[in-house]
C-alpha cells in the first residue's frame, strides 16, 4: 500500500523532473526564457521543501535522474507552454496524492496548497484548466 512517504517521494521525483525541464524550455524558446527560469527557481524551492519533509518523515530523499525523456519535442512557444502546463498539472495530481496519505491536518494543508499552486501555474502556462487538475 502506498504510504505518506511514498507519495512525498513521488512528488519529489516530479519536482526533480520539473527542475530539469524548465531550463530546457528556457534554452529552446527564447521568448519564454525569463518565465521558465523563474519557474525553475520556484521548483527548486518546492523541491527543498519536499526534501525536508521526506527527511522529517524518516526516509532518504530520492535523487534526480541525470537526464529525462521529454514526452514531445519542445521546438516553439506552443510546445513549450504545453510541456510547462503538463508538468504543473502532473505535480498537482502528485500533491493531491500526498493529501490522501497525509497523517495529520497540517501536512494535508501543506500538500493541498502545493496542489493549488501547481494548478494555478498550469493555468498560467496554458490559459485553461480542467475540472480535475492532475487527472
Amino acid at each position: 500500500m502506498t504510504s505518506y512517504v511514498d507519495t512525498l517521494q513521488a512528488a519529489l521525483a516530479g519536482e526533480h523532473a520539473a527542475v530539469w525541464a524548465f531550463p530546457v524550455i528556457a534554452a529552446e524558446v527564447e521568448s519564454l526564457r525569463t518565465e521558465a527560469l523563474a519557474s525553475r527557481a520556484l521548483h527548486r524551492l518546492d523541491r527543498e521543501r519536499l526534501v525536508a519533509q521526506v527527511v522529517s518523515a524518516g526516509a532518504t530523499p530520492v535523487g534526480s535522474e541525470a537526464s529525462y525523456t521529454l514526452p514531445f519535442p519542445v521546438t516553439d512557444t506552443a510546445s513549450a507552454q504545453k510541456l510547462a502546463a503538463l508538468i504543473e498539472n502532473r505535480l498537482a495530481g502528485l500533491y493531491a496524492d500526498v493529501v490522501r496519505q497525509a497523517p495529520e491536518p497540517a501536512s494535508r494543508t501543506t500538500a493541498a496548497r502545493s496542489a493549488a499552486t501547481a494548478a494555478t501555474r498550469a493555468a498560467q502556462w496554458s490559459g485553461t484548466t480542467s475540472a480535475w487538475p492532475g487527472a
Partner: protein
C-alpha cells in the same frame, strides 16, 4: 538535441507520467473512480462522519453554479469562456455529494458590467477554494480530502484565469 536526450534519458519524466501522458490516470483516478460507493455513504445512510461537510460544500458549489448561470444569462458574451468552468463545478458538486444537491434560494445578484461580474465570480472562486482547503484538513475520509484538494486547486486556477480575462 532532445531526441538524443530521449535515447539517453531512460530515467525519463516517468516521475511525472510524461512518457505516456496518461500513466498517472491509473494511479490517480478521477474522483468518480476513486470514490467507491463504500467510500461515500449516501446522505440517507448514517455513519458518514463527513456528511455535514459534504452538504455544506455541495451547497456552496450549487450557489457558485447559480452565479455562473446568472452571469451568463446577463452577459451572454462571456458564455464561451465561463460555461466550461461552470460545468467543472457541477463535476465537483457531484463528487462531493453524489446524490442531488440542495438548490439555493434567491437568484444571485449580478453586477451590471461584465468586468464587475467577472470580478464577483473570481471572488467566489477564491472563497470556495479557501473553504475547500480548510475542509480538506478536517474531513475524516482521506479520499474525500483528496477530492477537496483537487476542487480547491481547480478553483485557484479558475480565479487565476478570471483575473486575467482569459479562457
Amino acid at each position: 538535441m532532445h531526441t538524443r536526450r530521449s535515447v539517453l534519458g531512460l530515467g525519463s519524466l516517468a516521475a511525472l507520467g510524461l512518457l505516456s501522458g496518461c500513466t498517472r490516470n491509473e494511479a490517480s483516478p478521477s474522483p468518480s473512480q476513486s470514490e467507491s460507493p463504500t467510500a461515500i455513504p449516501s446522505p440517507g445512510e448514517s455513519g458518514d462522519p463527513d456528511l455535514a461537510a459534504r452538504r455544506t460544500l455541495a451547497g456552496a458549489e450549487v450557489a457558485l453554479i447559480a452565479m455562473y448561470d446568472a452571469v451568463i444569462a446577463k452577459h451572454p458574451e462571456l458564455a464561451s469562456s465561463l460555461r466550461a468552468w461552470r460545468d467543472h463545478h457541477q463535476s465537483h458538486a457531484a463528487a462531493i455529494l453524489p446524490t442531488s444537491t440542495p438548490s439555493t434560494g434567491a437568484a444571485p445578484i449580478v453586477p451590471g458590467s461584465s468586468a464587475a461580474a467577472v470580478k464577483a465570480l473570481r471572488a467566489m472562486e477564491s472563497e470556495l477554494g479557501d473553504s475547500h482547503q480548510k475542509a480538506c484538513a478536517t474531513v475524516r475520509s482521506a479520499d474525500f480530502a483528496r477530492v477537496l484538494a483537487l476542487c480547491g486547486a481547480s478553483e485557484s486556477a479558475h480565479a487565476e484565469l478570471l483575473g486575467r480575462g482569459r479562457s
